[in-house]
Amino acid sequence: MLKRVYEGTIDYLQVLDENGALDATLFPKDLDDSKIVDMYKWMSYARALDAKMLSLQRQGRAVTYAPLIGEEATQVGSAMAMRPNDLFVPSFRQHAVFLVRGFPLELFFVYWRGFEEGGAMPEGFDGFEVIVPVATQIPHAAGIAFAQKYNKKDAAVVGYVGDGGTSEGDFYEGLNFAGVMKLPLVTIIENNQWAISVPRKNQTAAETLAQKGFSAGMKSIQVDGNDVIAVYKAVSEAIANAKSGPTLIECVTYRMSMHTTADDPTKYRTSDEVEFWAKRDPILRVRRYLNAKSLWNDELEKKMEEEHLKAIDDAVEKAEQFKPDPKVIFEHIYSYMPPTLKEEYDEAVKNEFWQGNL
């Protein structure tokens, strides 16, 4: 006997194409033009923030930073789809998600100056800490989703991972846990085509990253990750369905810049490729749409840019006033200070070791 026991297909969703033309049949019912203007503003804000971070890093005023440019639609679309009670679990590039969810920019800059105080989330903030070891946050996201279900909360958890991260064991382990336990988890693969220098095609022989969700028994879809409306639609629908189980969403986007400020992408990719994607820029197509409907103009653009720059500069100024206290690094290791650690602390405080060289 030979019979087919499984068959799977992956749909690709695009609502707004690179020319700004809308597929009205797919337009989400809860969206309207004012919300699209908001999306445009958030994406522009994120790009301005990114540019500021790059400039600060180049001046030695920030630590190594992972730029987001090119990935604004994936991040803004998904962040705007979250409801007030939903939670998000980032990787290390989701700056726009933090921005849209209301993370104080001042803390953002303190974090990227290299101080843990920037990770001291305000009470009630709906995000978790930046995670650097690749894909290790996906099991956390599953556990957080478990807690929502266990506490009978109507909340979904949105977790982020990159294309390279889908090769990690923790990616599958987290998805599998969520699949078996039918947890309210929406996992977004921010497929920006490059894991530092290794292209997407060298991560897996699978045709799509979305199909990896099949192996964990969950609904999976591929989305144009440079189309903020498509991302918004896919994530909203996954969140609405979260009570019945998890969803995997592959957002196909492009890392327009370097992996981090320590990277030089000209070593491993062509300018033709970058140009190809520049034509598919996530912000440009929304601007075309808004222009065509006379919802935006250069004057509004100029006003918006000034507002963003002012907010960013104010936050940088505040963040640069932050003065680290070296004593604090001892104080948050445990819920209490064990005597052996107290001794190291006392030695350091008494001698002020942080004065450094003789």
Partner: protein, 321 residues
């Protein structure tokens, strides 16, 4: 009640789950099967499948999901079936459990008790007999405890389940059913970070924990030694005060553990004694431990783990100086 260590831990988990709805158990085979050592026996029947969960077979996923549960306000107790399999979750423990509190400046905490059977001596297969306490103690941020009696096992577990820290709860497989002890029916706590002076003496101090406690006791009895026996119970943070107090009294010290010698917990203990009490010693600090290589197949384990003879020889050498 008179129970062995399995019964004591089972009872502690039962009491904690009754008292605190945030306590959830998860791991491989811990539900219907009650765990391969039966430590969680009957708890799924009592508290339901939503609270005592058989997970997919994935150690990193179990610890990672537990970290997420803890970050979201639950108090998970993951079981890793054997210490040798726990290395697959090492990244989660070191990169996240140990750091999440400090890197968020205590915005988040990770109240989690990771249970796993450790050490050998029971003729199990490869990778079922590791003594990993030094790895987890080295990083800081993880509390590491290892009881040697049913009484301490219950008290330390109930204490660990009240702390807002990640606790590595190492359960010596050999001691699970070795002996029974009368312990209180009700909840009680044993303080974490406090050693237990099992026996008092004047001539030497023997610092030990876990599987070696009763082996040391037997040596001391058979040789009629007048010795302090200090059962650490907590490996990290060390009860340095109790160690120094005993050592300063006797002037001679030997450290005995089943974890292998080189870079083991004994090295840390010896260094602290040397730094703070060397002029009160009248002999060099000695260590007895398993040899400095990976745990052998069970056919050879009795040649590897410190036994009465090995400990006795070391004590003779120490006392002759």
């Amino acid at each position: 009640m008179k129970v062995n260590m399995v019964g004591a831990i089972n009872n502690a988990l039962d009491l904690a789950m009754q008292a605190d709805p945030k306590v959830v158990l998860l791991g491989e085979d811990i539900g219907k099967d009650g765990g391969v050592f039966r430590v969680t026996d009957g708890l799924q029947a009592k508290f339901g499948e939503g609270r005592v969960m058989d997970t997919p077979l994935a150690e990193s996923g179990i610890i990672g999901a537990s970290i997420g549960m803890a970050l979201a306000g639950l108090r998970p107790v993951p079981e890793i079936q054997f210490a040798g399999f726990m290395f697959l979750s090492f990244g989660q423990l070191i990169n996240h459990a140990a750091r999440y509190r400090s890197r968020s400046r205590s915005t988040f905490k990770v109240p989690m008790v990771v249970r796993t059977p450790v050490s050998g001596g029971v003729r199990t297969l490869e990778h079922h007999s590791d003594s990993p306490e030094a790895y987890y103690s080295h990083i800081g941020g993880l509390i590491v405890v290892e009881p040697s009696t049913p009484y301490d096992a219950k008290g330390l577990m109930l204490r660990a389940l009240k702390m807002d820290d990640p606790v590595m709860f190492l359960e010596p497989t050999k001691l699970y059913r070795l002996f029974k002890q009368e312990i209180p029916d009700e909840a009680y706590e044993v303080e974490i970070g406090k050693a237990n002076l099992v026996k008092e003496g004047e001539d030497l101090s023997i610092i030990t924990y876990g599987t070696m406690v009763n082996v040391v006791q037997s040596v001391v009895e058979k040789k009629k030694l007048n010795a302090d026996i200090l059962d650490l119970r907590t490996i990290n943070p060390l009860d340095e005060e109790a160690i120094l107090k005993s050592v300063k009294k006797t002037g001679k010290v030997i450290i005995v553990h089943e974890a292998s010698l080189s870079f083991g917990p004994g090295a840390e203990i010896a260094a602290r004694i040397a730094e703070k009490a060397i002029f009160e010693l009248d002999a060099p600090i000695m260590r007895v431990a398993s040899d400095s290589f990976p745990y052998p197949f069970p056919g050879y384990e009795n040649y590897y783990i410190p036994n009465e003879l090995k400990i006795s020889k070391a004590i003779d050498k120490l006392l002759s100086q």
